[in-house]
C-alpha cells in the first residue's frame, strides 16, 4: 500500500500461547471442583470465553449446563451448582448476594463458587462477608488477563477501565495492567526499553517492575524488545473522530465485539444475520481492513473481476483439467467468493447508512473543528443536530470535539448548548454533563485563565502555516497552544493539497489525510528519537508524566528490537491500529497493540452515561 515498504519486518511472536494458558487455567479451576456442575457466565465474559474454549471443552470437565448470569434465583437440577460467576467487569458483583439469599429463602442450600476474572477484589469478599454468605460461597480467581484478538492485537477486555480510572479515579485496574504486562514480559520478554506517557502508564510500569523484582527472571531470547505505554487521556481527540478506515468503520457501524461482528440481514442479503470473525484469517478482510473506505470499493470490484476470470477458466477445460480445477482451486474460490460478497454487502450497507446521515457534512464539520476554522458554523451545525434530536451520542461527540479543540466552550455557548441538549435528550443528562466535565471532555472556558477566542484562533492560524514546513524535519514539532487543555499540533493538518488516498504518504490517511492521530505520532516521534528529547514542549502541553527507561540487558541488536508493544491504557481504536500498522510497514517495525479494550467514540461516550436506572 505504501511506496517504501520495508520487507524485512520481523515475525510476530505467537500469541496463541496466551489463549492456551487461559484455557488450561480455567480447566484447572474446574477440575478443582470434582463432580458435575453448572456454569453461570456473566454476559460480558461470554465472548471472551468463546474465543478460548468451547462447549465441548467445558463438557469434558463435568460442566453440565451453561447459563448466563441473570441475577435471579437459579433453577438448576445439579445438586452441586458451581456458580461460575465470572464477574469480569464486576459491575454487578453487588447483586450476587441476592441470588444466594433468594436461594436460602427457598430453603435450598447449594454450594456456590465464584470465579472472578481476571482477579478478585477485596471489596467483593467484604460484601459476601457483610451479607453473611461468606462461608456459603467460596471464591477463586481466573487470571485471564490477555485475550489475543488477532496476530497483532491483544485485549485485556476491560472496557470499564476508562471510566473507572479516568472518571472515578479508581486505580483498581492499575495492578491488573501491570500484571498483564508482567505476563507478556515473562513469556515474550525480557523487554529492553520501556517508554511511556501518562500517570497511569507510570503506575502500571511501576507495578510491573515490582512484580518483575518479586519474581525471578529466566534468561531467554526476547521476542518483544520495546514497550510503549500510553494513557488514553493523552489523546482524547482521536477516539472521538469518525472512523473512515474499513475496520474502524465496521466497528463504528456494526460494533465488533471480541473480534467478531454480527452482520445484519441488510448486509447478508438474506433474512438472517450472521456472525463473522474479522481477523487476518479472513483473506479479503485482511487486505482491506487498513484501507481508507473510499479505496475499498475499487479493491473489491477488482477482486471480483479476478474471481470471475478464475471461474471463467473452466470454459475451455477438458475433463482432466476440470478435475484438477475442482479438487485444487474450486474450494478456495468458493471461500473467496463467500468472503467477497460478504464484504461487498457490508460496504454497501455502510455506504447507505452513511449517506442517510449526511456523513460528508458531518466529516466536514469534524475537520473544521480540528483545524479550528469556521467555529461558529460548526456550532450551528451541532445545534441543529441537537435540535433535530439526531443521535444523542453523535451530538455529544461533536460537543466534546468542540470543547477539546477549543479548550472549552465559551460560557455563553456552553450554557446554551447544554440547555438545548437537555431539552432534546432528557434532563437526566445533567449527570452526563457532570461526568464529561469531571473528565475534562466537555468544559466551560474559565474566564481569565484562557486566551480569548480571537487570540487562540490567531495562534492556530500561525501554527497552521508553520505546520506545512514542519514536515520537512522530524525534529520540529509545533503545538496548538490553546489554553488549559493544550492540543499539540501533531495533528499535522494538511488541507491545501490533494491527498492521494491510494498511495498514503503518512498516517494521516486514516483520517482522509486531514490529520495524524496524536497518539500514533507521539509513538513515532519517541521511537525515532529513542526517547523524549526534543519533545519537551509537547509533553509539557500534555501535562508531562513521560518516561523512557532502559533495562540492564539492552544493547543486543536482535530482531526483537524491531517488535514494539504498544499498550493503551483506557482503550484504543481500530484507526489507531491501522495507523501503527502503516508506520510499521514504513519503518520495518512490527507493532503489537495491547489495549484495555477496543474502543470508539460511541463506546467511550456511552461509558460516561449515568442514566440507566
Amino acid at each position: 500500500m505504501a511506496h517504501s515498504v520495508r520487507r524485512d519486518a520481523p515475525e510476530l511472536p505467537d500469541f496463541s500461547l496466551l489463549k492456551r494458558l487461559a484455557r488450561d487455567q480455567l480447566i484447572y479451576l474446574l477440575e478443582q471442583l470434582p463432580g458435575r456442575k453448572d456454569l453461570f457466565i456473566e454476559a460480558d465474559l461470554m465472548s471472551p470465553l468463546d474465543r478460548i474454549a468451547n462447549v465441548t471443552t467445558l463438557k469434558q470437565h463435568d460442566v453440565d449446563k451453561l447459563y448466563k448470569v441473570e441475577h435471579k434465583p437459579i433453577v438448576s437440577t445439579s445438586d452441586q451448582t458451581v456458580r461460575g460467576c465470572f464477574l469480569y467487569p464486576l459491575t454487578n458483583w453487588f447483586l450476587f448476594p441476592d441470588v444466594v439469599n433468594a436461594d436460602k429463602a427457598f430453603g435450598r442450600f447449594r454450594r456456590y463458587k465464584i470465579i472472578f476474572s481476571p482477579q478478585k477484589f477485596y471489596a467483593c469478599e467484604n460484601l459476601l462477608e457483610e451479607q453473611g454468605i461468606f462461608g456459603d460461597v467460596t471464591t477463586d480467581e481466573w487470571s485471564f488477563y490477555l485475550l489475543p484478538l488477532d496476530d497483532d492485537i491483544i485485549s485485556l477486555e476491560l472496557p470499564e477501565f476508562f471510566r473507572d480510572y479516568f472518571l472515578e479515579g479508581d486505580q483498581r485496574w492499575v495492578r491488573t495492567a501491570g500484571s498483564a504486562l508482567h505476563l507478556l514480559h515473562s513469556v515474550y520478554g525480557p523487554f529492553s526499553k520501556v517508554y511511556g506517557i501518562g500517570r497511569c502508564s507510570k503506575m502500571a510500569y511501576e507495578s510491573w517492575r515490582e512484580q518483575v523484582e518479586e519474581g525471578e527472571q529466566r534468561a531467554r531470547q526476547a521476542e518483544i524488545g520495546n514497550v510503549f505505554l500510553i494513557d488514553r487521556d493523552v489523546d482524547l481527540v482521536t477516539p472521538l473522530c469518525s472512523q473512515v478506515v474499513y475496520e474502524g468503520l465496521v466497528d463504528d457501524i456494526f460494533r465488533i465485539k471480541c473480534g467478531c461482528v454480527e452482520f445484519c440481514p441488510d448486509v447478508t442479503s438474506s433474512d438472517k444475520s450472521i456472525k463473522v470473525m474479522l481477523n487476518s484469517q479472513d483473506k479479503v478482510f485482511n487486505e482491506i481492513r487498513n484501507e481508507h473506505f473510499s479505496q475499498v470499493f475499487g479493491f473489491l470490484s477488482q477482486k471480483a473481476r479476478n474471481l470471475q476470470t478464475a471461474y471463467d477458466k473452466r470454459s475451455g477445460m477438458d475433463i482432466k483439467q476440470m478435475k484438477t480445477f475442482v479438487s485444487e482451486e474450486l474450494k478456495g474460490l468458493k471461500q473467496e467468493h463467500r468472503l467477497l460478497s460478504l464484504h461487498i454487502g457490508a460496504s454497501e450497507s455502510m455506504m447507505k447508512k452513511k449517506t442517510k446521515q449526511d456523513f460528508q457534512e458531518l466529516l466536514k464539520t469534524e475537520h473544521s473543528l480540528l483545524e479550528g476554522f469556521e467555529i461558529r458554523e460548526c456550532i450551528s451545525y451541532i445545534e441543529e443536530h441537537i435540535n433535530r434530536q439526531v443521535s444523542m451520542v453523535e451530538s455529544m461527540r461533536l460537543l466534546c470535539l468542540l470543547s477539546l479543540t477549543e479548550n472549552g466552550l465559551l460560557p455563553k455557548d456552553y450554557r446554551s448548548l447544554k440547555n438545548q441538549f437537555l431539552q432534546s435528550y432528557g434532563i437526566e443528562h445533567l449527570l452526563t454533563f457532570s461526568n464529561l466535565k469531571q473528565l475534562g471532555l466537555l468544559v466551560e472556558q474559565q474566564p481569565g485563565e484562557t486566551l480569548t477566542v480571537m487570540e487562540s484562533r490567531v495562534g492556530k492560524l500561525v501554527n497552521d502555516k508553520t505546520a506545512g514546513q514542519i514536515q520537512a524535519g522530524p525534529n520540529t514539532v509545533t503545538v496548538f497552544n490553546t489554553g488549559w487543555v493544550p492540543i499539540p499540533l501533531l495533528y499535522l493538518i494538511q488541507s491545501d493539497e490533494e491527498y492521494d488516498l491510494r498511495v498514503p504518504r503518512d498516517m494521516a490517511y486514516i483520517f482522509s489525510g486531514a490529520y495524524i492521530p496524536l497518539s500514533c505520532k507521539l509513538i513515532e516521534q519517541v521511537l525515532e528519537r529513542d526517547g523524549w528529547t526534543g519533545l519537551e514542549e509537547v509533553t509539557r502541553m500534555l501535562n508531562g508524566h513521560e518516561f523512557a527507561v532502559t533495562g540492564k540487558t539492552s544493547g543486543v541488536k536482535t530482531d526483537s528490537q524491531r517488535i514494539i508493544l504498544v499498550m493503551f491504557l483506557g482503550g484504543c481504536t481500530f484507526s489507531e491500529i491501522s495507523a501503527l500498522r502503516f508506520l510499521g510497514r514504513e519503518k520495518g517495525l512490527k507493532f503489537i497493540v495491547v489495549t484495555t479494550a477496543i474502543t470508539n467514540s460511541a463506546r467511550l461516550l456511552e461509558s460516561m452515561l449515568d442514566n440507566h436506572a
Binding site: 505467537d14 496463541s16 500461547l17 492456551r20 494458558l21 488450561d24 487455567q25 480447566i27 478443582q32 453487588f94 477484589f121 477485596y122 471489596a123 469478599e125 467484604n126 462477608e129 461468606f134 467460596t138 480467581e141 473507572d164 472515578e168 479515579g169 479508581d170 486505580q171 483498581r172 492499575v174 495492578r175 505476563l183 513469556v187 520478554g189 525480557p190 520501556v194 500517570r199 503506575m203 510500569y205 511501576e206 507495578s207 519474581g215 525471578e216 527472571q217 534468561a219 441543529e384 433535530r388 434530536q389 450554557r415 447544554k418 440547555n419 438545548q420 437537555l422 434532563i427 437526566e428 445533567l430 449527570l431 527507561v549 532502559t550 533495562g551 540492564k552 540487558t553 442514566n611 436506572a613
Partner: protein, 455 residues
Amino acid sequence: MWREHKHVFSISNVFKLKESKRAVNSIRSLVEEEDEEDDVEKVSWSGEPVGSISWSVKETESSIRSTGEVRDQSFPKIHTAPSLPKNSSGYSLSSLFKEHSEKLLTSLILYLLDCRWSVHDDVILLWQDYVSDWTPEETVKRMQQGKVYSLEKFRSLQDKLLLLDEAVNAHDGNVITAVLIYLKKSLSKEILFRELITREIALRHYIHYLKEIGEQKLLLMQYRDHLNVRDENKRRDFLKNCLSFPFSPDDATHVQDHYTLLERQIIIEANDKQVESSGQADIFKKYPRKASILNMPIITTLYYSCFYHYGESDGTFSSPANIRKTFRISDKQFLLTCLGARAKLKAWFDVDALFTTKNWLGYTKKRSPIGFHRIVDILQKNNAPVQVLQDYVNLVEDVEQKISLAQKYKCHDVIINTYRDLKDRQQLIVYRGKVERSSSEYRKIEEILSNSVRW
C-alpha cells in the same frame, strides 16, 4: 479483618485441621515434583499439550513464574506520584520469635503460591498463631500478592493512616479500597472524612466504593435516584423533593424544569389516554399513540404537542405555545420541531403558516430562522411532494445551491425558471436533454427557447 479470619476459623474443627494437613502434604509433593521437572528444563513452548491438564497448567504457570536464578534484568524505579511523608516508626522485625515465624511463613507462602486460593482457608489454620507484626509496607505488599494479611493491629489513627498512605503509594486500587473498608469499619465517619479530605486519591476510591455499594449520596447522585422510582407520581414527588437541594443556579433551573415537565406530562397523559380510549378525537383515531409521553424529553413533548394539540389556546398545558414559553424554547428549536410534526401529518398549510409573516402593509413574506435549504431537507425527509418542496427550493437565496437542490429533488420548474431568469440558454438546452420528450417540462423549455423576445 481479624473477624473475617475468625469467621473462617469457626467453621474449622479437628477433622478439618487434619484434612488441611493432608492437603498441605500433598501440595508439598507436588511442589517437589515440579522442582524436579524444572531442573530438567524441558519446557516445551510449542503449544503441544503434554500430559494431564493440571500438569499442563502447572507447566505453563511455572514456566511463567520462572525457575532459574538468572536475574540480569532490572528496570529502574520511576517517580510515580508526589511521595507521601513516610514515618519510620518501629515496625522492625527484630525479635527472634518473629524471625522464626517469618521463616515458617515464607515456606507456607511457597505452598500457598502453588495451591492458590483453593486451599487457602485450610492453610490459614496453620498459621493463625504466627500472624505477626507486618509493617504497613509489608502488609500492602502481601495484600497485592493475595497473601494472608491482617489489618487488626492497625489501631491507632496514625497507624491506620500510614497503612492508607502506603496503599496509595502502591497504586493498587484494590488494596486502597480494602484498607478504606477497614477504616470505615474502625473509624468514626467524621474522623475518616477529615483525613480523607487531604488525601484525594483515597477519597476518590472511597466515593467510588460507596457509589458501587449504593451508599453514596452526593448531590447529583441523589437526583440520579429518581431513575429508580418507577411510579410516575412518586417520581414527580421525588423530583419535587430535589428542588430544595443546593444545586448550582444553572442546574437548579434544569431540575425545576424536570419537575415541571413530569408534572405536565402526567396531566397530559391522563387526559389524552382518556380521550383516545373514548374515541372522541379524530387525530388519535387516525394516528394512535405509540407510547406514553411520560418521561420523554422536552422536545419530544413539544413534538407530541405539535402533533396532537396543535392550535390549542395558549392557556392549556398541552398547547405548543405554552410548552414553548414554559421551557424557554428557542425560535429555531421551536420551528424545527413544529415543522417536523406538521410535515409528518402532511399539514402543508400549517407548514406554510410557520414561515409566513405579514408586514405593516399587509404583504406576506416568508422568513425562517434557519436556511431554507435546511427546511427543504427536512421536508424532503418527511416525504413532502414536489409541489410543496419547490416552493421552498425557490426561497433558497444562493442560486447554485438552489439549482443543486432542485436537481436533487427533481423540481423541474424551479430549474427551468432559474435558467430562464438567468438567461442561460445553453443550460436550458442541456437540461432539455435530461427530461423526457413527452413531458410538460420538455414543452415548457421548448416554449421558452422559442420565445425570441427573451433572447
